[in-house]
Symmetry: C2
Subunit: 154 residues, 2 copies
């Protein structure tokens, strides 16, 4: 499940911050966890990272959209199970027409799909990370916080 060397020493904070930024910039898909009356929900979605917020899009009728409209708290996972970046934040719904055209174009170019072409069925979700964590294996659980209260720790 991993191509990392067994028993690699834990990374320091600066390396984790650099790796987390790198993954946010290079990744295309992530996992989105939300919660609602039907329990926890989890789906893969594509995203655009602009350096400070993640932009997602989902159908208005999806469990993810319904959950977020009632309770915006989300937890996102990027990367593989043994090299993760976890994001806690609040998702803010943005109507298709309210997103700047250039941002919508960037989202479409990045993800390969353009929700604006789907006749109003979709909504964007903007997530500004409040906390970010980065770890690989058990020996990196300690020191996993790389952002707190919206601020990078290094």
């Amino acid at each position: 499940m991993t191509d990392l060397p067994d028993g690699a020493p834990p990374r320091g904070l600066e390396e984790r911050v650099r790796d987390a930024r790198g993954l946010l910039e290079s990744g295309v898909d992530l996992w989105v966890a939300t919660s609602g009356p039907a329990g926890p929900h989890l789906v893969p979605l594509s995203y655009l990272w602009d350096g400070s917020t993640l932009l997602l899009a989902t159908a208005r009728t999806s469990a993810t959209a319904r959950n977020v409209l009632a309770d915006g708290r989300v937890r996102l996972a990027l990367g593989r199970t043994r090299d993760v970046v976890m994001v806690d934040g609040t998702a803010i719904p943005v109507d298709l027409a309210d997103l700047p055209t250039g941002t919508g174009d960037a989202f479409a170019a990045r993800t390969g799909f353009d929700p604006r072409e789907l006749g109003g069925r979709y909504v964007y979700l903007q997530v500004r990370p409040r906390r970010l964590q980065a770890w690989r294996e058990e020996n990196e659980i300690a020191g996993r916080d790389v952002m707190r209260d919206g601020r990078w720790l290094a």
Copy 2:
């Protein structure tokens, strides 16, 4: 993000069931979503699949364990973001001493870690899938259910 051919036709039900069973059997790690007062939680964990239930283990003090003790509903994701198996079910906590020795041995062999050696800090979680879904890309969203009410559909 995918090594699948672009525009591959959607798989039929029987192929999806076969692929989902194959992934359950061959995989080692999954994503676990739970919910609680602090919002949605999400972490990667290792698992053992015995053909009908998934066995996980987590620290008793973890957010996952605390959430499950209050509300057992979980949603699990196996596979990559563009070739997923999603599991909805209820997690039942099992004390270390209450798991049959052979099952504990199989868990340790499979996951590479043995919670029984960690001095009572861990608890097992047993999840019997109620619903299973399998999809790759957008064109497989329709027909994604491969198990309902605990029964494989093919």
